[in-house]
């Protein structure tokens, strides 16, 4: 078994200060008909990356509502994660030559996991492509299975998608982070936003003294503008492109760049990308490359709060939760118009979108020149996250989904 044991628990009532007592009452009302029903979430990593982070918060909150929920992580060796990383990139549209052996490895590890995971909950939620073939272990005619896809499937590699589609089509429904990611499928498809937890260490309010300590620890000057991108060291996050944009901005503003990120246990490529980033930084003392351990949430929180502008210059993106994190902290954000980012950044209302290195640099310069506009975007961004991308909203959507499956609306 590989059930994830969760350490921290935040009482549901604590969220009332953030979202209002009415929202909490509503969650309890929606959960009531589901008490005693079993739910199981399955993904491929317990640490690092947006999915694990969401489940780490969502599962304890569901337990607070007296729901019977468990979270299991599928097991796999290096060869499996190498294959699923290739699939991940291919589904995002990167070049990939499909090999029979890769598909066999994928199927073999799914089969091994079918033998060890329970798969008998009334509501099964399978996250992302890695465990998609677990559907083969569905007991006949009984429980509800839904597939939650967190990645951008708008331009998938055909061979990989056709392989996966055979499994996905057998679920009762699929959830995507943007309508653009949906596919022509014979099953219902729903819009499901990822979410952040406003009370987690990554997003809770911090003392300014702690923020200053973190800046001091990483030798970041609080007196000069700080541009920050928080993300895994992954080519699809384009950290080298961020450095190029920073170099353009640097001609006009004496700013600093912080590139901070951790690595996920299912991402074998991150060490290589980190080397590329160090090379591109070329020992510029104003570029801080911080490889943070997977759980350095307070440091990430402090870096975001200390930032003048937060950047998310991804080339492809599932959703880009770091954008919501920054907006929640009322930070002006410049981000690429890819994946789920335009859902979070309504251009000129909750942040600014860009489509190139030059565009990113221009929007950063604009915000550094107009701090009053930057502040207004940050305020609107905070409201947008509060209404749509908080963990309480996410939990509500799951409850609605389970109720809907149960009632077959």
């Amino acid at each position: 078994m590989s059930e994830v044991l969760l350490a921290s628990r935040i009482p549901l009532e604590n969220y009332a200060d953030v979202v209002g007592a009415g929202e909490i009452e509503e969650l309890r009302a929606l959960a009531k008909p589901l008490r005693g029903r079993s739910m199981e979430m399955i993904n491929s990593t317990a640490v690092g990356g947006g999915v694990a982070e969401i489940l780490n918060r969502l599962v304890p909150l569901a337990e607070e509502l007296d729901l019977s929920i468990r979270w299991d992580v599928m097991r796999g060796a290096e060869e499996f994660f190498d294959v699923t990383k290739s699939f991940h990139n291919a589904l995002h549209g990167e070049p990939y030559q499909a090999k029979r052996k890769d598909f066999d490895i994928f199927l073999s590890y799914n089969e091994q996991n079918r033998a060890t995971l329970p798969l008998d909950a009334e509501f099964m939620v399978i996250h992302d492509p890695q465990p998609a073939a677990l559907i083969d272990g569905r007991p006949p005619g009984s429980n509800h299975w839904v597939w939650r896809c967190h990645i951008d499937l708008s331009h998938p590699n055909r061979a990989v998608w056709e392989f996966l589609e055979k499994f996905v089509s057998r679920y009762d429904g699929a959830m995507f982070s943007s309508p653009e990611f949906s596919r022509q499928l014979p099953i219902s498809q729903y819009l499901f936003y990822p979410a952040i937890d406003p009370l987690s260490e990554k997003n809770c309010p911090l003392d300014s003294e702690f923020v200053q300590q973190v800046l001091h620890r990483y030798q970041i000057d609080p007196q000069r503008p700080i541009l920050t991108q928080i993300s895994r060291f992954d080519r699809l996050k384009d950290p080298v492109g961020v450095i190029r944009a920073y170099r353009i901005v640097k001609r006009y503003f004496d700013c600093q760049l912080v590139l901070a990120g951790g690595s996920a246990s299912d991402d074998p490529e991150s060490a290589l990308v980190l080397k590329e980033v160090v090379r591109a930084a070329d020992r510029d003392p104003d570029i801080k490359i911080l490889e943070l351990p997977a759980w350095a949430p307070l440091e990430v929180n402090a870096l975001q709060r200390a930032s003048t502008v937060v950047v998310q210059k991804s080339l492809r993106e599932g959703f880009g939760l770091t954008v919501s994190e920054a907006l929640w902290k009322k930070k002006p954000v410049v981000a690429s118009a890819v994946g789920g980012i335009p859902t979070q950044i309504i251009h000129k209302h909750t942040g600014l979108l860009a489509h190139s290195v030059e565009g990113t640099a221009y929007q950063i310069r604009f915000l550094l020149s107009h701090p009053e506009i930057a502040a207004k975007l940050g305020e609107h961004g905070h409201e947008h996250v509060k209404e749509n991308f908080l963990i309480t909203q996410k939990l509500k959507r799951y409850l609605a989904l389970f109720l809907m499956l149960d009632r077959r609306i």
Partner: protein, 219 residues
Amino acid sequence: MNVAETPFDFVTASYLTRIGNQSAGTLAELLTGLEHCSDASIFYHTFQTLGSHHFLTEGFSNDFAQWTLSSTNRNDLAEQLAALDIRDYTSIAALRTDLCCMVRDFCIAQPQVTSQSGLERFYFCESVEVTVPLGHSARNLDEFRDGLTHLSHAAFYFHFISSRLRLQLQTNDFSHWLSSSLGLRTLADSINHIDVYTNTLDSARGKMLRLIDRERKKV
């Protein structure tokens, strides 16, 4: 104080967005989509932004207008679509007819832009509403006011906005109950006339509470 025979039962709602199989990349395709999408989809795209972006009171009167502006850069058509007020309609069919007319007339007048691809595609979606009773109700204006004060945004949206689809766009749950169960027709009308396009959900609720307080002073 009037006491209603039928209480107002406060309900909460959670919304799932179902992604349809139709999408549009050009104005011609938008017209085809408008002609064939479900009533729920027309309603979703003319009202959902009032729930999800309710803190913004500019630029988002409906999704069709927003897409026409941001993706096809046709300000003239976008302004026409944005000017539609759903309270002028007594059915989704009539609303659909007018939306189609506007886009069709524009396509006839400017055929050269009809097939130009927009920056992003428009995806037709619809809401799936899941409701659960909150377990409290009101029989008089005081209890109604108290319940209204404590509603979440989603529950308020359900009773004040989403209910219009059920009630054939004529009224909303609050006005319907105030008029039919408490006989407060003037208050009901005033509440129904609160401009849902230029108010946030919070400011609409604030106006409603002020109207109720004025009514209570008359008693």
